[in-house]
């Protein structure tokens, strides 16, 4: 019990952010019409590519003086992350453009 409380206190800010973000996510998405299920999913998918920031930090501070496996994997993470971000946003835009076109 005491250690659980201790854990909460140490990470209280993080836990606050998680709790509020979940609530926010639910509020923002609720009542989305079925037409938008796919674009919403692929748009959200692109946002999860925010991991790319981690990739930039990782590769940005990797020591380049020696060749390392870490560098290769870091670059791989960056490529994957970008693929997720760019592909996700681009394909969502393409889908939504299609929806718009036939609305008039």
């Amino acid at each position: 019990m005491e250690s659980a409380l201790q854990f909460f206190f140490t990470y209280k800010e993080a836990i606050f952010i998680i709790a509020l973000s979940i609530f926010l996510g639910i509020q923002v998405i609720s009542n989305v019409p079925a037409v938008l299920h796919t674009p919403l999913m692929s748009g959200a998918n692109a946002i999860s590519g925010v991991i790319i920031i981690g990739g930039i930090i990782l590769v940005g501070h990797t020591d380049l003086s020696t060749f390392s496996l870490n560098l290769v994997l870091g670059i791989l993470a960056l490529i994957f992350g970008t693929l997720n971000v760019v592909g996700g946003f681009a394909v969502t835009d393409r889908m939504l453009e299609m929806f718009k076109k036939k609305k008039k």
Binding site: G25, T38, A46, V50, V59, T82, L83, N84, A90, L96
Partner: protein, 479 residues
């Protein structure tokens, strides 16, 4: 930029560092705002662009302003490498997203999701050795990020393979137990790693083992799940990737990553629950996969199947006033969306009202039918959701079922022993006439007979949906 502004908690903070945090706040707000706009049809496209703008902003400021613990910025050489990697990803992502066919959208979403999961897993794996021994919080988020990211990666790859027809369903009774054991093993190992007082460098064997087990779990978790459950699985995997990114956000104490990731996780979870509701099944039921091919109590109420000739179908449709098309996965497989639209414009020209009734889980991902029909330029107003069309079904002259099965099966209402009992369906059987286009007499995904096919008012048109529709359109034109 390096000018020190002040001291907070014994650490100096600079102009650049403060600007960086401000940009993250702005990016996080843009994600929220973008997602909000994305959930309304009129503003969706703008919302997507706002969210993309937030991402570009966060990427740029990180590249230019991020400092490591020693206060060093990102060196120029590293910057070039980063830009090159981003360039490769951008070109690849752009080309893929422009070239993909709309019918392949579920595969593509899975593929992008897999790449996001892989990125999260790699970042967590590479950051693990940097964690401090005994720092339970940071080891916990690193290990969680690794597990969730790896499961999302391999799970999405299997989902991709299934959607693309490269991987079949593998359902063996022992797999449920195997998966449970695997999951339990992962949790125990992760727990051990988190509480272990040893420095991470000594625990590398465990982190590699966790990586391997997580990848394996993703495979064995998605492998037994049937095609009709794909909308649930894809949404769930999407949510997982978001959570993995959020975990990585904790490693860097980066609020934009945390908020963006959790937001995606929550949104994905809502979609998952929505899809489960549309099938009247619990998430646990989908994951464990209680759908056997058995269906013991499905009564053998096999009546006579009555076929209809193309010319009779053409006459019937031409003299109707109110026609409803009920599309399913078969329409997507046959790529028949364009010809379906040709049929509806042709009939409209004859004064027939044509609408499309869309079941929430028709197809292989949430909203699959909407995307397909939008590609074929079917006007938005013609797509009617299940709950709005059902009360009007008795007024419908002809319901055309194209490549759909379980979503129109009346057993969901009448047969308490049926595996799909209780699932909301489109009431095709309430229409005055029903035409069912099907490839053959194969049973639906649930492996149960569809009583609709044996009803007196039902007529069958066997064949590939696209060919059948093409012939039907030709027949109506000549009529």
């Amino acid at each position: 930029m390096d000018k020190v502004l002040g001291v907070l908690n014994d650490a100096e903070y600079t102009v650049g560092g403060t600007l960086l945090e401000l940009s993250y706040l702005l990016a996080a707000l843009l994600f929220v705002y973008g997602l909000k706009l994305l959930s309304h049809p009129e503003t969706a496209r703008r919302g997507n662009l706002w969210a993309a703008g937030g991402m570009v902003l966060a990427m740029l400021t990180t590249l230019l302003l991020h400092k490591n613990a020693g206060g060093g910025g990102i060196p120029l050489d590293n910057m070039w490498i980063i830009l090159a990697a981003i360039g490769v990803g951008t070109v690849a992502g752009w080309i893929i997203s422009r070239r993909v066919k709309m019918t392949d959208m579920p595969q593509l979403v899975s593929l992008f999701n897999a790449s996001g999961g892989a990125a999260s897993a790699l970042v967590a794996l590479l950051e693990y050795p940097n964690a401090l021994a005994g720092d339970i919080g940071s080891i916990l988020v690193t290990v969680l990020g690794l597990i969730i990211g790896a499961v999302a990666f391999s799970g999405s790859m299997i989902a991709y393979g299934k959607l693309d027809g490269k991987v079949g369903d593998v359902m063996k009774p022992f797999m449920t137990y195997f998966n449970l054991a695997l999951l339990l093993g992962l949790i125990v190992l992760a727990g051990y790693l988190v509480v272990s007082p040893n420095p991470p460098v000594q625990m590398l064997w465990a982190i590699y083992l966790i990586t391997a087990l997580s990848l394996l779990y993703g495979v064995t978790f998605v492998l037994p799940i049937g095609g009709a459950d794909m909308p649930v699985v894809i949404s769930l995997l999407n949510a997982l990737t978001g959570v993995a990114a959020a975990m990585a956000g904790f490693i860097y104490n980066n609020q934009a990553m945390i908020l963006g990731g959790i937001l995606v996780g929550a949104a994905g979870m809502i979609l998952t629950i929505l899809m489960c509701k549309a099938m009247n099944r619990s998430l646990l039921n989908v994951i464990i996969g209680a759908f056997g091919g058995g269906g013991a109590s499905a009564q053998g109420e096999e009546g006579n199947i009555k076929e209809i000739t193309l010319s009779d179908a053409a006459v019937l449709l031409s003299y109707s006033q109110n026609v409803v098309v009920i599309p399913g996965y078969g329409l997507a497989v046959a790529q028949a969306q364009h010809i379906a639209h040709e049929l509806d414009t042709l009939l409209e020209g004859k004064g027939v009202q044509v609408r499309y009734a869309i079941h929430p889980v028709a197809g292989r991902m949430p909203g699959h039918m909407n995307v397909l029909l939008a590609e074929a330029d079917v006007p938005y107003e013609k797509l009617v959701e299940m709950d709005s069309i059902n009360p009007d079904m008795p007024n419908v002259d002809v319901a055309i079922v194209i490549g759909a099965n379980d979503v129109v099966n009346p057993a969901a209402h009448h047969d308490p022993g049926s595996p799909i009992y209780g699932m909301p369906i489109i009431e095709a059987s309430h229409a005055k006439n029903v035409i069912v286009m099907k490839r053959g007499m194969g049973k639906g995904y649930a492996g149960i007979e569809n009583h609709l096919f044996f009803e007196d008012k039902t007529r069958m048109l066997f064949g590939n949906a696209k060919d059948t529709l093409q012939k039907l359109v030709a027949e109506i034109k000549n009529f």
